[in-house]
């Protein structure tokens, strides 16, 4: 059977209607609301065909039709026209995001919040992993008798620090030497490179006199580097799902929320998605079968890539939401593209 122009039109109308109403769409509704000069009976025939082709389903005999995942896929790929955001919304977004533009983490957090407020969906954002960041300084600073602070500054302006509790005493001179040696050895190398090196071995020659200090600091050093490999996950808008007809059943809502709580899982899903504006629908998500995800990436220093997106029922305003996400990620990329450029 062929998917002719008229079938497409009808399918589009059904999808559009269902996205807003969340109710199965009947032939009469389409005939009335979307004036295409066809009687309900004709539309019924077409709907029947569309169902046979797998684009529509039927909750029960006397209910209207509901779009299938396949229908949404078609809608997203061929029928959806990208919607331009109204200027006031653009301005609102830019303003909100630029308020905190100095720090990536806070901007990302803000973006997630804003996104869930605008879309009424659950939003999430991940920060880029710093695996490709290059180390710039390593600094050990005294705190008290037995505690020092290990500070790592990387070339993209990220700073990580950890308190290190030593089992021994130290002198400030020793800290200075060790800072210098470590900086000298690791400067310019990426985080992942350093982690594959035999760090103790590398430092051995220069620091033979400082065995105990080295032994105490290196594990913390490695831990901190490992932490830099991790990505942070922000999520927002959990409560929105309680307003969706799809989750009016508390049991379902709880299951979904519990799934979303598994941050490690969500993170890995996000990290493994392709870059660009990506829309995955229903079954296309290995888990989360009843959901759609829209994500887009943003760039930091033209290199590191984080992601921003939403998750919600397959019944989703794909076009509008894509535009919002795209606008936000572009905005963030612009702000953080080149370090030090966006002086206030």
């Amino acid at each position: 059977m062929e998917l002719n122009e008229r079938k497409l039109q009808i399918l589009q109308a059904i999808v559009a209607d269902f996205i807003y109403s969340a109710e199965p769409v009947g032939s009469r509704t389409i005939s009335r609301k979307y004036d295409m000069g066809l009687s309900p009976a004709t539309i019924r025939n077409e709907m029947s065909d569309l169902e046979e082709m797998g684009y529509l389903t039927h909750p029960h005999t006397s209910a209207g039709r509901v779009p299938s995942d396949k229908a949404y896929r078609l809608y997203v790929d061929q029928m959806m026209r990208s919607s331009e955001l109204p200027d006031e919304r653009k301005m609102m977004i830019s303003r909100s995001l630029n308020e905190t533009a100095a720090e990536l983490d806070r901007t990302i957090e803000k973006a997630a919040r804003l996104l869930s407020e605008i879309t009424n969906l659950v939003s999430f954002a991940i920060t880029p992993s710093s695996s490709e960041s290059r180390l710039k300084y390593i600094n050990l600073l005294p705190v008290d008798e037995r505690t020092v602070v290990l500070m790592i500054v990387s070339d993209d302006g990220q700073i990580s620090n950890t308190a290190v509790k030593l089992g021994c005493h130290y002198t400030e001179e020793n800290l200075r030497i060790m800072s210098r040696v470590m900086t000298h050895n690791f400067m310019g190398k990426t985080v992942s490179d350093v982690l594959t090196m035999d760090i103790i071995e590398t430092l051995k020659n220069d620091l033979s006199a400082l065995d105990r200090l080295t032994g105490a600091v290196v594990p913390s050093f490695m831990q901190t580097l490992e932490k830099m490999l991790d990505v942070d996950l922000y999520m927002d808008g959990y409560t929105n799902i309680l307003s969706m007809p799809e989750y009016s059943d508390v049991e379902k809502a709880r299951n979904f929320l519990n799934l979303l709580q598994q941050k490690d899982h969500i993170t890995s899903v996000l990290v493994n998605r392709d870059n660009g504006l990506i829309i995955t629908i229903g079954d296309e998500n290995s888990e989360l079968k009843d959901c759609s995800l829209i994500t887009a990436d943003y760039r930091v220093n033209g290199r590191l890539v984080g992601k921003l997106g939403v998750i919600g029922p397959t019944r989703m305003r794909y076009s509008e939401i894509s535009s919002v996400i795209k606008y936000m990620t572009d905005n963030i990329s612009k702000t953080f593209e080149i370090t030090g450029d966006s002086t206030e």
Copy 2:
């Protein structure tokens, strides 16, 4: 009317039963389950008295009785016997908390998670404000041409850093001078003290040659100090509320969740609570009238005070939950009481 021994016994039975069942308790239930040699009729009479005295309420004529806030208060103050945690639970808690004992933030986060898992309630924890911490070092470190890192180390081992984007260039020598001058001027002073000083004025003499750098750094310095005054709030176990009969209505659940999302509000409620193990019930909470809160404080460096607690319906296992919270806060206090003591 007098609240005699028998009335107390009956009330205790009703409270205990309702805490577990969440169903209004009838006279027959009490007579059967809590063998006190009284017929349902007698118990009915006593219940009627208790209702008149304000300890019980009556959803409708033919329903059982439900304890009032006043009853819970009495229960907590006089009838509840403090429950000792089983050893395995104690061990589990200690082990979990000590895994990450190096850093306060992560321990607190872990504690909140653990608490919500154990109690099936919404848990929260706030970190202490650093207002009384004394500054130890102030350090400016170069990142790139126009960016430096401002790092503040305080005597309790906390480290705060901020990236500062300068409008001008700098030399490393200038950074060193400025670090030294700032450290010299502010070392040993508390965060709140420094914030009340006229910082520019204080630095003017020593840094007259570095006007532009000072102008760029001081605002960031103040911002960072202000951030140190803030307390962090962790919450966990949101989804638990969807399992409570009190919130089986999605509408109610949503309202409650929305309330909990207002982190500023929750934070201020927590900060303003007294120290020690505090239980507030229903009406005693200005907002959150249908809820009870249990909180306890923990100490860091014998001085700074953070809090850990739960929020849930007034129907709550007060005794057991208090014990868990108490045990956790004691554990945290012990770990962080004296800096540098808990060497691994």
